[in-house]
């Protein structure tokens, strides 16, 4: 009962999220076959992969979701797997969506576990709710939700490498990346910041973010916000933390005047610690936070900034 895993990589080095997908795939059966597009990824033996199938073709030099799905389609015919797995990334979910459409098969996105009876547990609401589901198909397609399964090396040898000559036709290449535009980086990125100072409705206005910016400056932090704030036009959507914004994983997340809707928590629950500053001691954010200060953030935030300045200069 072989299992095929789509492994994404950066110049031959496998993505962490694909290694997590391999960990879940091992629960589905063996041997494991990996598909990599573009370049050989050789270190996959340590993650339980027996054979790496490398699809190399000039036409695959830029990402084309249908062409990637065509490669998986071809590999299914070759190794007759019982499951095809990918990381629950933009591309992983997209390619499995294409494969599901090509073969008219069900596809369970963002799974975190598989049961011995073939049921899966998958995330809903960006992780605020779980669903146990049955995939009614002999060949199961599933993606693995990011950061919910631990990537782990096993006592594997080295994987053998085989070439997959992609049977890609022109229709599979209609949708492909034709251009990449670099965006100049503007300061500390939200997704990678060690500290995020984030504001919600309680900040009151676009100008109110000035005091959050000041605190963030002292902490080398990025400034984030809730959905209410972007919908009001106070901050750009690129600053939004949440299910439909950026998912962050800092050491400390400071939630200022944020009530704590599930849509927001889905974006910040990856933080190691959450400090809530809120005037309402009953706000839902307090049941997701590690620390809280109850009070008017227009007084609390400048006081923390002043205290920090004092501490940093001493």
């Amino acid at each position: 009962v072989s299992v095929v895993v789509l492994v994404e990589h950066e110049s031959g080095s496998p993505d962490e999220l694909s290694l997590q997908a391999l960990a879940l795939a091992r629960d589905l059966g063996s041997p494991l076959h990996a598909l990599v597009v573009g370049a050989a990824v050789t270190e996959l033996g340590a993650y339980g992969v027996e054979t790496v199938h490398v699809a190399e073709d000039d036409r695959l030099s830029t990402y084309a979701p249908a062409a990637w799905a065509a490669c998986l389609d071809q590999l299914i015919d070759r190794v007759q797997p019982t499951a095809v797995v990918a990381a629950g990334t933009n591309r992983g979910n997209e390619v499995l969506g294409h494969l599901a459409a090509r073969r008219d098969l069900p596809f369970a996105a963002n799974c975190i576990a598989v049961g011995s009876d073939g049921t899966v547990t998958r995330v809903r609401w960006g992780g605020s709710l779980l669903e146990e589901a049955r995939i009614d198909s002999d060949l199961k397609l599933l993606s693995v939700a990011p950061h919910m399964v631990e990537a782990a090396a096993v006592n594997g040898g080295s994987a053998s490498v085989e070439t997959l000559d992609p049977a890609v036709d022109e229709a599979d290449l209609v949708v492909r990346v034709v251009e990449h535009a670099e965006t100049p980086s503007a300061g500390i990125s939200l997704a990678e910041a060690k500290v995020v100072v984030s504001g919600g409705r309680g900040v009151g206005s676009a100008d109110g973010f000035g005091m959050l910016e000041e605190l963030a400056g002292l902490l080398n932090a990025a400034v984030g916000c809730s959905r209410v704030v972007t919908m009001a036009g106070w901050r750009p959507h690129t600053d939004q933390v949440g299910q439909t914004g950026t998912k962050v994983a800092p050491d400390l997340y400071i939630a200022c005047g944020i009530s704590g809707a599930t849509q927001h928590i889905a974006g910040c629950k990856g933080a190691k610690k959450i400090l809530a500053i809120n005037s309402d001691a009953e706000a839902p954010i307090l049941s997701s936070a590690d620390y809280a200060v109850i009070g008017d953030l227009a007084e609390v935030v400048p006081a923390i900034t002043a205290e920090l300045r004092k501490a940093q200069s001493s």
């Binding site: 049955r134 995939i135 949708v175 914004g245 049941s287 923390i304 205290e307 940093q312």
Partner: protein, 255 residues
């Protein structure tokens, strides 16, 4: 330009997930409902294209009778007409949803002409299946680009922009095409009172398709552990500042 936007009615979940006793659904008695956020931006994007280039925006939803509210909201925000596939409230799996949409698109196109663009949200806020738009595109034999943060249409081509680390990936699709968009591609307008009134008299056609057996079958819902932590109160008001800075030092982020 004829554009079809597919939207889904979802609950506004607030601060906590509470399930019904049979663990099959969220308890929504005390909740409001909205259009799933990515799709709300899909409606706005379609309306802007048609305002610029002329044409018509149709909005389609598969959902219970109450989902007419989300169609009317879309009409208030500038869409021209609604198509409502009325369900009994039971959830449809992605394959069944896509099949019902495809059937409706075919009927609509043979009656009123082809859609140049069909717009989806990248994934629904609740089920998050990431696939209905792709299935519809394949069934209709049209190209699809997903996860878009930028879209412009000119000369029968759609220029599609995806945010990726460090920049944007660009795709060029010939029309007719299917796209799925993300929140942030635009900032949806708030409807004016006259627009809300006008929406009441715009046409909404409804039909009642039969729900096939699901291939991705929900067995039960589970609230994940971790909901209901108790925060340690560091203090009240400005007096809490020293305790906050001490905590920052303890966890090594005080700079």
């Amino acid at each position: 330009m004829r554009i079809l936007v597919c939207v889904k009615r979802v609950p506004l979940t607030g601060g906590k997930m509470v399930l019904t006793a049979d663990e099959q659904a969220l308890e929504t008695r005390h909740l409001g409902f909205t259009i799933s956020p990515h799709e709300e931006c899909g409606v706005e994007e379609a309306v802007r294209i048609v305002e610029d280039q002329g044409g018509e925006v149709s909005v389609l939803t598969l959902g219970p009778a109450e989902a007419e509210e989300q169609i009317r909201d879309s009409l208030a925000n500038g869409a021209d007409r609604g198509v409502h596939l009325v369900t009994d409230g039971e959830e449809w799996d992605p394959q069944a949803t896509a099949a019902a949409i495809v059937e409706t698109v075919r009927a609509e196109e043979s009656a009123g002409g082809g859609f140049d663009l069909i717009v989806f949200g990248n994934e629904s806020a609740d089920a998050g299946n990431y696939q209905v738009g792709i299935r519809v595109a394949y069934a209709l034999g049209r190209p699809i680009a997903t996860g878009l943060k930028g879209l412009s249409v000119a000369d029968r081509r759609a220029r599609c922009e995806q945010e990726v680390p460090g920049g944007r990936d660009i795709y060029e699709l010939p029309l007719p095409a299917v796209v799925s968009v993300l929140e942030g591609i635009n900032l949806p307008r708030y409807p004016s009172v006259p627009a809300k009134l006008r929406a009441r008299s715009k046409p909404v056609e409804s039909s009642t398709p039969e729900r096939p057996a699901p291939k991705l079958e929900r067995l039960r819902l589970v609230v994940p552990p971790g909901q209901g932590k108790q925060a340690e109160i560091l203090g009240n008001g400005a007096d809490a500042a020293p305790a906050v800075v001490e905590m920052m030092r303890d966890i090594g982020v005080a700079g």
